[in-house]
């Protein structure tokens, strides 16, 4: 089946720093989503990005489908960015397969 791997598994940043999170996937991408799971457990949609580049404020994402990876960029990090970042790929059956997540802590 589809395998999704994320790196790094854990990341600690000082407020104001930039970071890049990576997602590798094993199959041709139909749909790739990035999520932020906040400390209360809510999964927040960040990007729907099967290919190309998108930006939303301090966040941007790039998916290179031919090379089977996606990157999430966080610039000028804030403490509210803390939580777990998941990428997930949609398979043939429409369900999402999630990576193991990157646990981000932003220190003030």
């Amino acid at each position: 089946g589809i395998q999704v791997e994320q790196s790094p598994p854990d990341l600690i940043l000082q407020e104001g720093a930039n970071s890049t999170l990576r997602c590798n996937f094993s199959d041709s991408v139909n749909n790739l989503q990035w999520f932020h799971q906040n400390p209360w457990g809510q999964l927040i949609n960040l990007f729907y990005i099967p290919s190309g580049t998108k930006q939303n404020g301090r966040l941007s994402a790039t998916t290179v489908a031919t090379e089977r990876y996606s990157l999430l960029y966080i610039s000028s990090s804030q403490t509210t960015d803390s939580g777990v970042y998941f990428c997930a790929e949609e398979g043939a059956g429409n369900m999402l397969t999630f990576g193991g997540g990157t646990r981000l802590m932003v220190k003030p």
Binding site: G41, L43, N45, Y48, F86, N94, M95, F98
Partner: protein, 117 residues
Amino acid sequence: GAGVSQSPRYKVAKRGQDVALRCDPISGHVSLFWYQQALGQGPEFLTYFQNEAQLDKSGLPSDRFFAERPEGSVSTLKIQRTQQEDSAVYLCASSLAPHRGLDQPQHFGDGTRLSIL
């Protein structure tokens, strides 16, 4: 509200009891998914509905797990004779349509945190 609504938010049950978890998807959304998230891990697929039809239940861990969506809107996930390993967060997601090539992201509810004592 405009989002996916799940209830209860928290559920504590004794081992052996039956539980029922409810999901109210975004109005008009055709596709509905259930996922299970164990502590410290990413969500894992359980089952998928397109309207009232359950098209995929390959992720259900055992025959104690049962899901339904009888009118193509609200869905219920039922777990019979609960066991401690069933303790997890159960997430429901919906999307507008299953069509590929369109911008149809899955939107998640806040989940039900189930604890089996």
